[in-house]
Amino acid sequence: MALIDLQHISKTYGVGDLQVHALKDVSLTIAAGEYCAIMGTSGSGKSTAMNLIGCLDRPTQGHYRLDGIPVDTPTADALADIRNRKIGFVFQQFYLLPQLTAVDNVMLPMVYARVPQSKRRSQAIEALQKVGLGNRLENRPNQLSGGQQQRVAIARAIVNRPKLLLADEPTGALDSQTSQSILDIFASLHRDGMTLVMVTHDAAVGQQCDRIITFRDGQVLSDRPTATENTLEIA
């Protein structure tokens, strides 16, 4: 069964002559366990698609089922709940809370998931160890490098064990070497069975995914598996 199932999705902003059709009748499915990149130039609709997939926004028309649950109608609070339980977010700007330590930042989604306080810390530490930051638990964001901050953000995204990890330009603010370390973490999460969807404009980054969906003018321009050389190498 498809984890992400978009059927005839349209998204329109504004009214009358000022209407902008950000997405026009897009249908798209992504299966559980896929590692896929969404690419396109700015204004292509890739960000809108990302917001819809991430349940941050609702489509004007069409139907969206996430993990079998229709999510095109629920209220803002119901969407918040779905985001909390099913989706982990990684952003270009990290968005860590400066007043909190790394482990406190990672614990944040569990606060909203109403996870008992006694379990939070151990789960957060586990997530931080998974991204290689087991020794940076009590550091505040301003005491961490960019790459370390992004790894804290990844730990935060996976701590509630979501089905889907959504990354919006996760390497956009990082140098190429650090970027690769982040992508390595994604690859290892992918191997563990996590579904990853990454928005990027960097073709080299997109190449590391299994599938590239390219948007243009609010529609899917192409949807193809990446060149098989990577897979061959692994094989």
Partner: protein, 407 residues
């Protein structure tokens, strides 16, 4: 819910602690508001107590007859001062059955000298009954007596005695009041002060002597005028009868048929009630003024919280993206505001209490700590935080996560 509250409070403390300067400034308004509510209310109540005690010290069954009509309203200040005479006092003493003792009083500030020592004192012409009516006790010698009526004798207040004689015994010594010789026959015990007047800077002399030797007869008067006739009723229960009978007698004596009274009879209770109504307004005005500063403090909280919501838009967006509901966000900001208000309230309350201690040490007012004032100002500051935190919190809760993250 309680579980969430602790959670939110912990989070709020971390956030507020991370920005100490701003948190401090936000609290300042509430601190000042709380401190002033507590201090002002305490000061007002202390003033009220003080005035009440002053009136109570006058004695419970004492009536005061003063010239002019105090009830007449705006022009009461320009009342005629010469409508009461010594003869009126004598008539009241002789004819009103409900009356115990009558003490006519005529006073003037005069220069009192002894050899090289000199002082200003309130020279009070009165009769021996003063001792009974005003409940004065003697420290030395005796008070005025009926046989003194035409004699130049004087009784000194404790402070005047000290100024003129120091540690020496003043009895049978002579002093001069406006260059008229008087012989000291007694010293009264210290009476403290009443309505800002130091009662111990007084020289008591027979009223007839005062008129004959010091002030002189007024033109067109057959009997000397007096400023006050203090009357003690036979008992507390006969005070109202005395009040009524005195009024009738004086109207008759003054030939008043249809006109208003040209004198006022007031009991200690009347004076107390009047003073109470004035001081209650004082307390109210002080409390109200302080309340305004509390309100301003609350608006300060709202202001900073609104700024804070704007500044932390990304934080709000992130929290929403990872699963915070609108209610979570609004709880977070509301609790931050309430915590600010409560901590500010605590600091303000301690400052207020400190100022009460200072007030008690520095003034004759003995300010009590009013538990109700603390409770009220605490409740008010807590609810100020709640009320003024709600608008920013609502604004934060309604932010669209996408817009918030892109800002």
């Amino acid at each position: 819910m309680a579980y969430n509250l602790v959670e939110n409070a912990t989070m709020a403390m971390k956030t507020l602690g991370a920005n100490k300067l701003r948190s401090g400034l936000t609290m300042l308004g509430i601190v000042i508001g709380n401190a002033s509510v507590i201090a002002m209310v305490a000061a007002g109540q202390a003033a009220q107590d003080y005035v009440t005690r002053q009136f109570e010290s006058l004695g419970t069954n004492v009536l005061f007859i003063t010239p002019g009509d105090a009830q007449r309203g705006p022009d009461a200040g320009v009342r005629r001062a010469d409508t009461l005479t010594l003869a009126d006092a004598e008539a009241v003493a002789a004819e009103v059955l409900a009356v115990g003792a009558v003490s006519p009083e005529k006073s003037q500030r005069l220069r009192v000298t002894r050899v090289a020592a000199e002082t200003q004192a309130n020279v009070l012409g009165t009769t021996p009954e003063y001792l009974t009516v005003r409940q004065v006790t003697m420290a030395q010698g005796r008070f005025l007596s009926p046989v003194d009526a035409q004699l130049s004798v004087a009784v000194l207040g404790s402070e005047t005695a000290k100024t003129l004689f120091g540690e020496r015994n003043p009895i049978d010594q002579s002093i001069r009041i406006d260059n008229v010789r008087f012989t000291v026959v007694g010293v009264v015990t210290s009476r403290g002060s009443s309505f800002g007047q130091n009662l111990d800077e007084t020289v008591y002399i027979p009223i007839e002597v005062m008129v004959d030797r010091l002030t002189g007869q007024e033109v067109g008067k057959t009997s000397p005028t007096v400023q006050t006739i203090a009357v003690s009723a036979q008992s507390a229960t006969s005070a109202s009868a005395a009040h009524y009978q005195i009024t009738n007698l004086l109207r008759l004596r003054h030939g008043l048929l249809t006109q208003e009274d040209d004198f006022t009879v007031q009991s200690q209770q009347d004076l107390l009630d009047t003073a109470d109504s004035i001081t209650s307004i004082l307390v109210l005005v002080l409390g109200f003024t302080a309340g305004i500063s509390l309100l301003v403090g609350g608006i300060g909280i709202m202001n900073i919280m609104l700024v804070s919501v704007t500044e932390r838009t990304q934080e709000i967006g992130l929290r929403k993206a990872i699963g915070a509901k609108g209610s979570d966000i609004s709880a977070q900001f509301t609790i931050e505001a309430i915590i600010l208000a409560i901590i500010g309230g605590l600091i303000g309350t301690s400052l207020g209490l400190m100022s009460i201690v200072i007030l008690t040490l520095a003034t004759p007012l003995s300010a009590g700590v009013s538990v109700s004032a603390i409770a009220v100002s605490f409740t008010v500051s807590g609810s100020t935080g709640l009320i003024f935190g709600l608008l920013p919190a609502r604004r934060a809760a309604q932010l669209d996560p996408i817009v918030a993250l892109r800002s």
